[in-house]
């Protein structure tokens, strides 16, 4: 017999949603349902009352002076259609295009992707390289948490019982910067990543690397940053030799497992290939005369 939710509610205020969540530990938020419904069908999740976020104003993408704020209910289709995101967060837009297929993207939300906390979440590496933070709302108030540190282990985040992720905030990149994302999967759509990766490189006024971010998914219990690889690029620049060493260093930052999609060994090798590819691409894009700066 399939597990079924015990009831459904669509509150009209955040406070009502929080009250409903607090009423019973089995009460569960639903947004797009693209992870929850398969989970319920497979018996992995047994929600009590479904608390639907659809009537809450959480689908904004607004550009503030210092950051862009995305409501938790922003779908991956919304991400693809946003001119703000296309201009400043290309890695996030690329990731959105690589998730599921169009009917999934029309329902699946950014907030849900993060809270579901799959190590392979495609929304995570881009948001990590953009230094995103998430706003968590509870009955006792709100807190803002850096996305780095939000994920604890597969399926688990720092979200406390009764808390709802309501917004993702992404600082606006400044100056000369490039970023990109790649997903390696068993096929081009409707697949969970074998490895996914995002990078971001910021240059200073002299053309040296000011900052580098390398984020990897599906190669550890949570999405991770490859900190030593990043430091290498900042200190040595984007030469072919440094890129090769940084890619190898990134592979060493991982702790992948063998699973039905790939072996740990394959994942390590692919991290090296993909990071090298992304860094080489960013070096080319940052060359003077290539429209950056």
């Amino acid at each position: 017999m399939l597990a079924s939710p015990t009831g459904y509610a669509a509150p009209t205020t955040l406070e009502d949603a929080l009250d409903l969540l607090a009423a019973d530990p089995d009460n569960t938020i639903i947004a797009g349902g693209t992870d929850l419904v398969p989970g319920v069908r497979a018996g992995r999740q047994t929600p009590g009352l479904l608390v639907d976020l659809r009537r809450l104003p959480l689908d904004h993408i607004t550009a503030e002076r210092n950051d862009v704020r995305l409501g938790a209910r922003v779908t991956f289709t919304d991400v693809l259609e946003s001119s703000v995101l296309a201009a400043e967060y290309p890695a996030l837009v690329t990731a959105a295009a690589d998730i599921g297929g169009p009917p999934i993207r029309n329902r699946a939300t950014l907030g849900g992707n993060l809270v579901n906390a799959s190590p392979a979440a495609d929304g995570a590496p881009p948001l990590l390289v953009y230094d995103a933070s998430v706003v968590l709302a509870g009955l006792s108030g709100r807190r803002e948490v850096p996305l780095l540190g939000f994920f604890e282990r597969p399926g688990h985040t720092v979200l406390q019982p009764g808390e709802i992720l309501i917004e993702i905030r992404v600082p606006r990149p400044a100056g000369s910067t490039v970023s990109s994302f790649v997903k390696l999967g068993p096929r081009n759509a409707m697949a969970i990543a074998i490895v996914n990766a995002a990078i971001r490189v910021d240059l200073d006024h002299a053309g040296g690397v000011r900052q580098c971010r390398i984020a990897l998914g599906a190669v550890a219990p949570t999405p991770i940053r490859a900190l030593e690889a990043e430091t290498l690029v900042v200190s040595q620049g984007l030469t072919p030799e440094t890129i090769a060493r940084a890619a190898a260093e990134a592979a060493r930052a991982t702790s992948p497992i063998d699973d039905l999609r790939a072996t740990a060994d394959y994942r390590r090798r692919m991290v090296e290939v993909l990071v090298q590819r992304l860094l080489t691409g960013s070096a080319a894009e940052l060359k003077p005369g290539n429209g950056h700066g």
Partner: protein, 156 residues
Amino acid sequence: MAELSLRVNGTTHQVKTDPCRMLLSVLREDLGLTGAKEGCGQGDCGSCVVILNGRAVNSCLVYAGQADGAEIVTIEGLAEGEVLHPLQQSFIDRWAFQCGFCTPGMLMTAYGFLLETPHPEADEVRKAISGNLCRCTNYANIVAAVVAAATGGPQP
């Protein structure tokens, strides 16, 4: 139990049901609209796709309660009486189906896609149907049928 208001193919239905049933089940069993199919029940195959508030969605992933007050278009709503929608006619003309099981979902995905991209290239159509599986054809006739429907005939 809940009283749900579903506007389906232009007609508003008041449906009294468990809001935790899937929309696919309500469409098929309560409203007799059996065009949408359950191929996998988990959003992987696309045979259940309908238009919900203007967007193609897997109806097997939508709880009925989530569709309360929504505007829904199913395959039964494409034709106008005996006059087939250009997409349907194009599928017939170009042999874009064999067993027909994937076809309602495929057509609704295409319909939703053309609302957003009225004049697509073939590669865009291929991406648009990436959430719809077909076990009979090689997809090529489907892609050609969607492109052809978009370039001729009235807009959806």
